[in-house]
């Protein structure tokens, strides 16, 4: 059988089978169509304003490398007039980030784009190596994720850039959709699929003459409809030099589970990755209160490894802690079981009390319940025997306020600013500042100096 010819140009030999539509095409046609499709995504969503300064979140990995290359190409080709810069975060992980940053430095030269590297050490006074030395290998990913989210925003503000693009691809987004379905996290489900995820104050008028503050940086994912496979193929055929930046990172159990599902779905029906993305977009509209949320809430924390770990942080197993087992899923199973138990028992106990005392015994079982359940309990409780009225219980108000800090954010959060650093947070002090406080407590206030003439 003679080699198949390209379905587009009908001259070259077909080298590539596109997963999204089974088209067999040649490499030059593939590169052209890949770029056209990204351009289509950008123009159909009005992603950029003419002349806008845009920072490309660059890790040196395949996704951000392809994103930088494609945006540079398209910007020149279509005269979008974008002022592109590369923005890298240096977590300070020796043997991993230092190598990938070398790749980013080469890209900066190759594509003639200025590069800004923001390091954790500069921003927080702690590199990840130091954090690991302090807290150990378990749970350090929580720090990394929380820090990274702010770092991109702060780095962008330093550059005077109001818009950061990240290399999230269709596979990543599909994975996040399934993961949030599995964890039952509707607010995140509704945020995962939006191509632009701006922080709430981005909707506010820019202060002064468009001065950029780190609290109003817009995030977007121009590669949201691009298959991971095609990104790899694009990088290969364009001979892009990238660094494989897989951290010594073990995925969270839910993400790992979702990733396996996505890979298997792709094998069964390659189109299904985009179908999951589409489903996610459609389901986001069905989440109660979705529209309000999408316009008001801080979002876009999905930063690869740090994916769902926004500033509101879920304490559940960071990448490090889930290494041993499916820790995260087991933890959630446990929590759900306790919820059920608390609900079953709660119906038998009187909990509505005028007194504002805390009953630690019941508090434990009920900690995890959400406010709605608490209300049911109260209702049922009222109908029950008055004999139980002697049991002192935490009241609803107290319960609600305690809940804030827990995972699974309540349906509505008030977003304010961290009183220490001014970053967006639903609590008085943001997660990063809380983590930093813990770290700094253990660090001597002044370094030990040797010698030095006095």
């Amino acid at each position: 059988m003679p080699p198949r010819e390209c379905e587009i140009c009908h001259t070259n030999r077909a080298q590539i089978l596109r997963p999204k539509n089974h088209a067999r095409i040649c490499a030059p046609c593939f590169i052209a169509i890949f770029e056209d499709e990204v351009a289509e995504t950008v123009t159909s969503t009005n992603l950029f304003n003419p002349g806008e300064r845009v920072a490309i979140g660059a890790s040196g990995g395949k996704d951000s490398t392809v994103l930088a290359s494609v945006l540079k190409t398209l910007n020149d080709r279509h005269n979008w007039g974008l002022d592109l810069v590369l923005l890298s975060i240096d977590e300070g992980i020796t043997g991993y980030r230092d190598h990938s940053l070398e790749a980013v430095k080469r890209h900066s030269e190759q594509y003639d784009l200025p590069l800004k590297i923001v390091s954790y050490a500069d921003l927080y006074g702690w590199s990840m190596d130091q954090v690991v030395a302090q807290v150990g290998k378990k749970g350090n990913c929580t720090y990394c994720g929380v820090f990274r989210r702010q770092a991109l925003d702060r780095g962008a503000a330093m550059l005077g850039v109001g818009h950061v693009v990240t290399g999230h691809n269709a596979d990543d987004v599909a994975e996040t959709v399934l993961m949030n379905l599995l964890r039952g996290d509707l607010p995140r489900l509704s945020r995962a699929t939006s191509i632009v995820t701006s922080t709430p104050s981005a909707a506010l008028p820019e202060n002064g003459e468009g001065e950029i503050k780190f609290t109003n940086v817009k995030r977007s994912k121009p590669l949201i409809y691009a298959y991971e496979k095609e990104i790899v193929m694009y990088a290969h055929h364009k001979k892009l030099d990238y660094f494989s930046t897989e951290c010594i990172y073990s995925p969270e159990a839910f993400r790992g589970s979702a990733r396996t599902l996505i890979k298997n779905l792709e094998r069964i029906r390659p189109e299904s990755i985009l179908d999951v993305v589409r489903s996610g977009i459609d389901m986001a509209k069905l989440v109660p209160g979705a529209e309000e949320q999408n316009s008001q809430r801080a979002c876009g924390g999905e930063n690869k490894a740090a994916a769902a770990k926004t500033d509101e942080g879920d304490g559940l197993g960071g990448c490090g802690s889930s290494k041993e087992s499916g820790g995260e899923m087991a933890a959630m199973e446990q929590k759900l079981l306790q919820d059920e138990e608390a609900q079953a028992n709660g119906n038998e106990v009187e909990i509505k009390m005028p007194k504002k005392t805390v009953n630690s015994q019941n508090g434990v079982a009920r900690d995890t319940q959400d406010a709605a359940d608490a209300e049911i309990d109260v209702k049922n409780g009222q109908q029950q025997s008055p004999a139980q009225q002697t049991v002192p219980i935490r009241t609803k108000e107290e319960k609600k306020s305690r809940k804030r800090g827990k995972d699974a954010p309540p349906p509505k959060q008030k977003l304010g600013q961290c009183e220490r650093c001014g970053y967006l947070s639903s609590q008085s002090v943001c997660k990063a500042c809380v983590l930093l406080e813990g770290l700094n407590k253990a660090r001597p206030r002044t370094g030990i100096e040797v010698g030095g003439g006095d």
């Binding site: 298997n264 069964i268 489903s279 899923m329 759900l336 138990e341 079953a344 028992n345």
Partner: protein, 361 residues
Amino acid sequence: MAGRRNLPPADKSLCRRCQSPDTAITVRTEPLCKACFDKYVQTKVVKRMETFRVKNSEPGKEKTLLLPLSFGPCSTALLYTLSRHLKNQIDKSGRPGFKLHVLHIEQPDEPPAQPLLDQLQSRFPEHTYAAVPLASITSLPHLLPSTLQPPSSLASLLSTLPTPTARADLSAHLLRKLIAHHARETHSAAILLGDSTTRLAERALAETAKGRGFAVPWLVSDGPISSAPTPSEAGDGQGEIPTYHPLRDLLSKELVPFVAFAEPPLTPFLRTASESQAAPAAMKNSTIDALTRGYFAGVEEEYPSIVANVVRTTSKLQAREVGAGELGCELCDVPLEGAAPERSRLCWGCVRTMQGVGAAS
């Protein structure tokens, strides 16, 4: 307080409810004996049947509820528990709250169902029974999408589809349409599906993967939905028949032993689905439904609450309001607005399923 369940049991190996030493199964960390397990399942089903209580029915004019039976453990368990429920209703108040009509849809490759239905009828003579071959859908062309016209045989219809996933998807929708059609024919007030929690979670995930995320709320919720789409089978003025899932609080792994424990045994009525549903060796030849089935089979073993949580979460999604006169998808009957390419009579998910049909015909 009596009945507090968090009292530590005298012995962890005893039945958590009656302290009998003969425990038969562990249900969500609680060891239970056969009798208590039986009561557990029965209670969960009865709780979901509140709409059809005796006081809601008119004496002598009980509503007919359609129970599609596949001879699998779940639908068989539903038939069994509802039969007992009806008996209890009669014992307590002298009359039933509803009538059951059992319908089996014969798959193309399965042996005739009549002998099994006859046996069931002698065991549960109070219900009516019917068997309809899936292939009969071709004689009801108004149920089929216009792209599949004119319908020939079911086999040739399915063979026009290139992938196992598409074939399974089309069959499932034809099955659903045929059940709904039969429900209308028999003037049934509702359809009672034997979907367990596990099954609902599987379907929610599978439909998401097939691009029908927007339809998930209709799929997993119970009862009449105000914004339900108009069925494509227009003209008989009946509108949509509400669907209920009385087994929605039970896991598949609980229903399999439940059926096995029944006395006298229900096992003669079970058909092992494993032969036709066995996963093929190569992932490529598998189906999306089989993938999610396998996935949740694994999850429900270790993390049953997570399965239940998926169903609970997806049930919280709010189905979109449907405009008056809005068209439904010709295959899956969900409203098309925003869910389909322009001028298409099929939604995105069904466009995907029917991909290649035009090319083949």
